[in-house]
Assembly symmetry: C2
Homo-oligomer: 425 residues x 2
């Protein structure tokens, strides 16, 4: 064997290489002393040790149920948990129009909602296909799209989220370019968007569903409603998911997870899918992992049956609300004297999306990122959150996470970041 022998990788593996997250993680590992406002982890202190302990104890105390949890499950997952998440979804949406369209058969459990997003993408997208999404949007999902050889196409957003008129404009442009048939989905992080923190305005929700249906001229265009952060609301009123406006139940896919509201380590997510997608997604899932870990699904079902879950989420919300308050306070304190700084206080979630003066490039090779490292703070460069096509990418934004740091850490991190901004101005 010669040392020059080729180790060929699949096209997908080549597509998967060089995700921006890895260079950030390398920076974080190389500088453990940094205050990271980059990591999207959840708050360590409020992770539910006692609830997990109680649920595990209860689960293993009944040998019959314990053995069931320790055995293989089905590709769709533990039926009682599927029923619980559907019921909760209906309650949250106020028993919407889709009530009669959807049953437990539409619910698929996954190892986190990322797996659901990937499975759906893998099921509907060929290489070269298009997914319309906000500019900015969730960069891990764009990584999954790139992995599949699919294209993310940006739609302009404002303080109410994805702009329906801009969505139609992009669809018109794509149609004029002869590519409408490549559009397979519209992706929206509909509550406290990652990265923008914005919640899609209530009145835009039916509009986006209607646009997807109306533009499904030859092939179906799905709406992929990523509701991962829905339960992390700190102010304002909950709004129905986009599925509530899908009267035929054929268009909207909802992705959700207990990773943010309970534990990413237990890692149970789910999708509520149009009927036409259920079997194809399960067939894919059978090949990809032969079913998600069953024990974790039983554990979550036990947690939810205990009645303690909502109390935990209430405590969690209180903790994150405090952190969010600390970040907004620090933003006012340290950034308000700077012209060209803009942000919207999010009503929930884990992120603040901050614009700095146009003259600053927040990218990893720019002056600000280096200055911030020097000061001892790290953020996610906004450029990573922009789709490769469509609405223009902007270079002067940052995603700041308040999930991981303490309020004091947030205060300190924001002070250092402001110092870095001043330094490069």
């Amino acid at each position: 064997m010669t040392p020059t022998l080729e180790f060929p990788l699949s096209r997908r593996a080549q597509n998967a290489a060089g995700q921006p997250i890895s260079s950030l993680m390398q920076q974080a590992l190389a500088h453990p002393e940094l205050i990271s406002l980059a990591a999207g982890f959840v708050d360590q202190a409020s992770l539910p040790v006692e609830l997990t302990s109680a649920a595990a104890t209860s689960l293993v105390s009944d040998p019959v149920r314990a053995r069931e949890a320790l055995q293989y499950g089905t590709a769709a997952g533990h039926q009682p948990l599927r029923e619980i998440v559907l019921q909760r979804h209906r309650n949250d949406d106020g028993l919407p129009a889709c009530e009669d369209q959807l049953s437990v058969e539409n619910v698929v459990l996954t190892a986190g909602s990322n797996q659901l997003l990937h499975l759906v993408a893998d099921t509907i997208l060929n290489e070269g296909d298009l997914v319309l999404c906000g500019a900015p949007t969730y960069f891990v999902f764009m990584g999954a799209l790139a992995n599949l050889g699919a294209r993310s196409h940006g739609v302009a957003c404002d303080d109410g989220g994805l702009i329906p008129e801009a969505l139609e404009d992009e669809l018109r442009r794509i149609e004029a370019a002869g590519e409408l048939e490549r559009v397979k989905a519209i992706y929206v992080v509909s509550y406290f968007d990652n990265p923008s923190g914005i919640t899609l305005a209530a009145e835009r929700r039916p509009q986006i569903v209607e646009i997807a249906k109306r533009w499904s001229k030859k092939q179906h265009i799905y709406v992929l409603d990523d509701a991962a952060y829905r339960s992390l609301r700190y102010s304002g009123e909950d709004v129905p998911s986009l599925q509530a406006y899908d009267e035929t139940g054929e268009t909207v896919i909802v992705a959700q997870t207990f990773s943010k509201s309970f534990s990413p380590g237990i890692r149970v997510g789910w999708g509520i899918l149009p009927s036409a997608l259920v079997e194809p997604v399960l067939n894919q899932k059978g090949n990809i992992d032969f079913g998600s870990p069953h024990f974790a699904q039983h554990l979550m079902a036990q947690v939810l049956s205990s009645g303690e879950f909502d109390n935990h989420v209430a405590v969690l919300r209180e903790s994150y609300r405090e952190k969010q308050t600390a970040m907004i306070k620090a933003a006012k304190e340290f950034f308000s004297s700077l012209d060209g700084v803009h942000y919207v206080k999010p009503q929930g979630g884990l992120y603040l999306w901050m614009q700095v003066p146009e003259s600053i490039d927040t990218g990893i090779d720019g002056k600000l990122f280096a200055a911030a490292l020097q000061e001892g703070v790290m953020y996610v460069p906004g450029i990573y959150c922009y789709p490769m096509e469509g609405a223009p990418r902007r270079h002067n934004l940052m995603r700041l996470s308040f999930g991981v740091q303490t309020p004091d850490g947030i205060q300190e991190g924001m002070q250092k970041l402001a110092a870095a901004v001043r330094q490069v101005l």
Copy 2:
């Protein structure tokens, strides 16, 4: 929206449709009274309720460790567990030549070994690429290959497993057809094969590694050593994995799992990969599920640290040995008077691979399958276990699992199956 509107699926989703396992599962669901010798589940009674309970209690009793388990982990998984599985692998292989080539960096944890197999396939295979494998071989992996648009190419086997000379013959044929560059891997279920029950003979192991290296003329040909059943040995001596003969550490991938030896519901598997594959596989994994459930990995690390794991495996082996004995005894009792019946007593695993007379078609639409259902017993038709290309497919074999039924159920099932065979002869 018109009812005729197309709901397009990706090519992959189309490939994934119609896996044989689904029609079998439908049969099983429709006839719960059947004695299933088809299901590849593990023995329900010996699932480790107490060990899991003790491990869970220990894990959650330390809040710092518990929180770590409940948080996100890395794509490669929990480092202490990666160290444990590598050490155990080295011990099992008797500190082989690969010792210096492999480190904990080569170990990737997955949600079961199926996920590892799929990840590796997704990382090295494009549509149309070839994987050489036994005829027969593990049908779920062939499903994953079909899903990817890759081709499984069968190599003749005998009672010592994959025949090295037949492997070279197939490589020669493929080269003559101008397709050698499409061959990316050789896949072997090297211990107590699913379905054949055969363990790849010790002397063939280095030969297969050598063949893979020698035929890596333009591109690298990997050997994918699926060692899922290694710990379920009931007689004979353990043999080293194929990795023990990979002196450069560049060729062999080992896939393993705790699903058979501990619990498929906890579902922790792993791969030990050549260095060149680690980063590409982790990049893919980041996109597919953003890391496997961390809590389950901590739980398994706790089980292994408790020192009780090997005792559990010893008890498990005793239980399966009894079942295997029951199946072999029943095979002798009910089938020995039939000409043309052939099987090899496996030294471990969960399966007996039985040949019936040439005149019988064991397929799902054949007379035997119907007669067996009528008698009240189900098996996996052997035809499902044959690759689509290469060595000829055979229609007169059955995979019989002794994992799930009690010894009495096995006896009864085998009696019914023999009655069905007699009926159709």
